[in-house]
């Protein structure tokens, strides 16, 4: 056997042709989904930001590793006393990757484009409060809001709000041109996207020379890709495969938090889910620990309302509906459903939904609710569940940050309607006092939990795996992005 290995290794050396020794400042990062295109201002796919956010494109502000708002292209700003006028002072000497200068005109162009009537920006709501964008001088922009909006600076940090140049806006889908520390080099469709360092970058220079995002769709293929050294980092790794890597000293495994509240959504207008007792019964019937163990390899933090435990405003409401089968049966009896009932559970493709769905179906069977599992694709889910609201129950992770306001949206797929809650969200939008905001956010969480609007399950974990010699990756995912600006090889 040993002889064999020697012979084969010798053959390997011949085959390798002396090439492939990776330069120490290059990095290959594995991603599971390929972006449909490379323009963050024209699509909702998280994969776009996973490649480009903070690397190629920058906005006025940006979101940091812990979800905080940081200055980006705007070096500073002032806010008028009435909270309606934001004056941004821009960095000077900033250039787009095509060599043209960045200035206030580009800011006005980008924001006006995103909020225009014919805009297909996937997060158009971020710009809804903007009344006017004025160029004061090439380095100053004044934005006037229709009403004060406490989340405005945060909103401007989203990938959908990055600044693009008028000359290149239309070709960004294929050849993105931004102001970031990396510039786009090549996209081999289906295979990989390569970024290289931009030497003309205005800010702190990055350590990596080249970053290649390689598309590895299959979780089973991700492990050998790491072990063989083909890929050196998977910032979003499959929780179920992590056990195979965990003991290996060559790799670092970092379990962090995302902004993904994973919930058992209920159609609040469809009987019997229109009744509080039924929704509460379901909440009592859920055993969150068993769900996390089975659907997420034991990783993930239980939640009792729609808020990430990593968020400052988080209130622990997991004690409101502890796992209690007797209580659940009692509530169903009160609702006149002591013989149980039948319903459907539509499950989109991610493993948290498909695996979690089977566990939840068995837990609800214990209290007499007989669920028929219907697996659906994303396209079907968006069509039937999200748009047409043709569903009883479904499981999905709401990955947008700070998105408790979705429960106040009219015609949202939960079919939830509570004017007290809507009032709180409206107040929240106008409140900038931090302490008051925390109180309001606490109340909002409490209402959702009391109403048992949906079954609150757990916060989706972010499992990151990378070469032990690498540092600077985000541990948590306050937004779905792979910020490479601080990533470097330590030796």
């Amino acid at each position: 056997m040993k002889l064999w290995k020697t012979i084969l290794t010798a053959a390997a050396l011949v085959l390798a042709n002396g090439a492939s020794a990776l330069a120490a400042r290059d990095l290959v990062i594995g991603i599971t989904l390929e972006p449909p295109h490379l323009d963050p201002t024209a699509g909702a796919a998280a994969a776009i930001d996973e490649v480009l956010y903070a690397n190629v494109f920058e906005g006025l502000t940006r979101i940091g590793a812990d979800g905080e708002v940081l200055p980006a292209l705007a070096e500073s700003w002032t806010i008028s006393d009435d909270g309606k006028v934001y004056t941004f002072k821009l960095h000077s000497g900033v250039k787009f990757h095509d060599g043209t200068d960045f200035n206030a005109d580009d800011v006005k162009f980008s924001l006006d484009r995103a909020r225009a009537d014919n805009s297909v920006n996937a997060q158009k709501g971020l710009f809804a409060a903007i009344d006017t964008v004025e160029v004061v001088d090439p380095a100053t922009v004044r934005i006037t809001l229709k009403n004060p909006q406490s989340s405005f600076l945060y909103n401007m940090g989203w990938g959908d709000a990055v600044i693009v140049a008028p000359e290149t806006a239309e070709i960004n889908k294929e050849k993105p041109v931004g102001t970031g520390p990396f510039k786009f080099q090549n996209w081999a469709k289906g295979s990989s996207i390569t970024l290289i360092r931009s030497d003309a970058y205005w800010g702190a220079p990055v350590s990596l020379d080249k970053a290649e995002f390689r598309i590895v769709t299959d979780a089973a293929a991700a492990v050998p890709a790491l072990l063989s050294g083909d890929v050196q980092a998977f910032p979003f790794f499959d929780p179920d495969s992590v056990a195979q890597i965990q003991g290996d000293p060559r790799f670092k495994v970092v379990i962090g938090a995302t902004e993904g509240e994973t919930i058992l959504s209920m159609n609040n207008k469809k009987p019997p889910f229109d009744r509080l007792q039924v929704r509460q019964a379901i909440s009592f019937a859920l055993d969150r620990k068993a769900i996390i163990d089975g659907a997420s390899a034991g990783l993930g933090v239980p939640i009792g309302s729609h808020m990430s435990p990593a968020n400052k405003a988080y209130v622990d409401l997991t004690g409101l509906y502890p796992h209690n089968v007797d209580k659940a049966r009692e509530l169903l009896k009160e609702a006149g459903l002591e013989n149980g009932f039948k319903a459907t559970l539509k499950l989109p493709p991610p493993p948290y939904a498909r695996l979690g769905g089977e566990i939840i179906a068995s837990q609800l069977r214990d209290v007499g609710i007989d669920l028929q599992i219907v697996p659906v694709e994303w396209a079907q889910w968006l069509d039937q569940v999200f748009t047409k609201k043709d569903y009883d129950l479904t499981i999905v992770s709401h990955t947008e940050p700070n998105d408790i306001d979705v429960y106040s949206r009219k015609d949202y797929y939960f079919n939830y309607d509570n004017s007290t809650f809507d009032k709180i969200i409206a107040d929240l939008n106008l409140t900038s006092d931090e302490a008051k905001r925390m109180t309001l956010l606490g109340e909002a969480q409490k209402i959702l939990a009391d109403d048992a609007v949906v079954g609150f399950l757990y916060e989706l974990p972010k499992v990151g795996v990378w070469d032990a010699k690498l540092e600077g990756f985000w541990e948590n995912a306050p937004i779905q992005a792979n910020d490479l600006t601080k990533v470097k090889w330590t030796e």
Partner: protein
């Protein structure tokens, strides 16, 4: 012969037209809106409508079908909704992976299967036959994704002879590109070879029982010569049929292997286009594949005539 050829061609054309209708109709019926998929959960209904208009999705079905089918006639395959590039460019990028892979796998499969079939048929019922066919049975039974993973762990992780997956592109050089296709080709070829070997064997055994074989033996021809010159040629028709089917499968049915090796092939392009409801890409690629399958079948039909002179003379 000409009549035979013309009839085949006419059938091929009708099949193409029918296939285009079926493909278009199926994609109309399945639920899912490409515009909503692109804009995600935070976009308003008005915005989705706006994008649908921009993408031309709100035109009547018949009009869209005619527009697309008309484009196909002038070899214009349309533009991808999600990638917003011409479909033909996407196909060109993928075919340079899928076609060589299919050809290598097919060659490997044939090189393995024909000798094994000959060997087995020649030892019909004896130990060698039993062992060879047992191995073939195993080859059919082993799931190819598992076999592929075993290959990866052995040759990429342990021995580091080849990359664990991915495709560097032909621009990186012929050798690196071929290296990344070796394992997938083996993983694809083995189950195909197993099937082909079994077909070759049973076709040969049937032929070997024919009178003319006995006659050939009786006139003193050595067994080897009989096997190669008379038996194999007569057994070729079922073998060619299977080869034709296998090529069609290898061209686009390799999604599992493409996923395990994360190769940018046609199978994955199709799969991705279906999940993203990139209707134009799905429709056009399916049509290209239908055309390829029909062409291969036509070739197989013609090759019957080459191996079987009776088909040539029969009018």
């Amino acid at each position: 012969m000409t009549a035979y050829l013309l009839k085949r061609l006419a059938i091929a054309l009708i099949t193409l037209v029918l296939a285009s209708m079926v493909v278009f109709a199926v994609l109309e019926i399945i639920p899912g809106d490409p515009a909503r998929l692109m804009l995600g959960m935070n976009a308003s209904a008005d915005q989705v409508e706006l994008l649908r208009n921009q993408m031309g999705l709100n035109a009547p079905v018949a009009l869209r079908y005619l527009h697309w089918a008309g484009g196909l006639l002038s070899l214009d395959f349309g533009r991808s909704y999600t990638y917003s590039v011409p479909v033909i460019d996407l196909v060109r990028e993928r075919i340079v992976v899928s076609l060589p892979l299919a050809l290598i796998a097919l060659a490997l499969s044939t090189i393995i299967a024909i000798p094994v079939g000959l060997f087995s048929a020649g030892r019909h019922g004896r130990a060698g036959d039993t062992i060879a066919m047992g191995a073939a049975q195993l080859g059919v039974a082993v799931p190819n994704f598992w076999f592929a993973l075993m290959l990866i762990y052995l040759f990429a992780v342990w021995l580091r002879l080849v990359p664990a997956g991915g495709f560097p592109g032909w621009s990186a050089g012929v050798w690196p590109a071929l290296k990344s296709l070796v394992l997938p080709a083996i993983a694809l070829a083995l189950p195909q070879a197993a099937i082909l070997a079994r077909v070759t064997r049973s076709a040969l055994i049937e032929v070997l029982n024919e009178d003319y074989i006995r006659t050939a033996r009786a006139k003193g021809l050595p067994y080897r010569a009989v096997l190669w010159r008379h038996a194999l040629r007569n057994a070729m028709i079922p073998v060619l049929t299977i080869l034709g089917l296998q090529f069609a499968f290898l061209l686009a049915g390799t999604i599992i292997i493409e996923n395990v090796f994360y190769l940018p092939g046609l199978g994955r392009l199709m799969f991705q286009a279906i999940t993203q409801r990139d209707l134009i890409v799905v429709e056009s690629v399916v049509m290209l594949l239908v055309a390829a399958v029909i062409a291969v079948n036509l070739l197989v039909d013609l090759s019957y005539a080459v191996v079987d002179p009776r088909l040539r003379s029969r009018q």
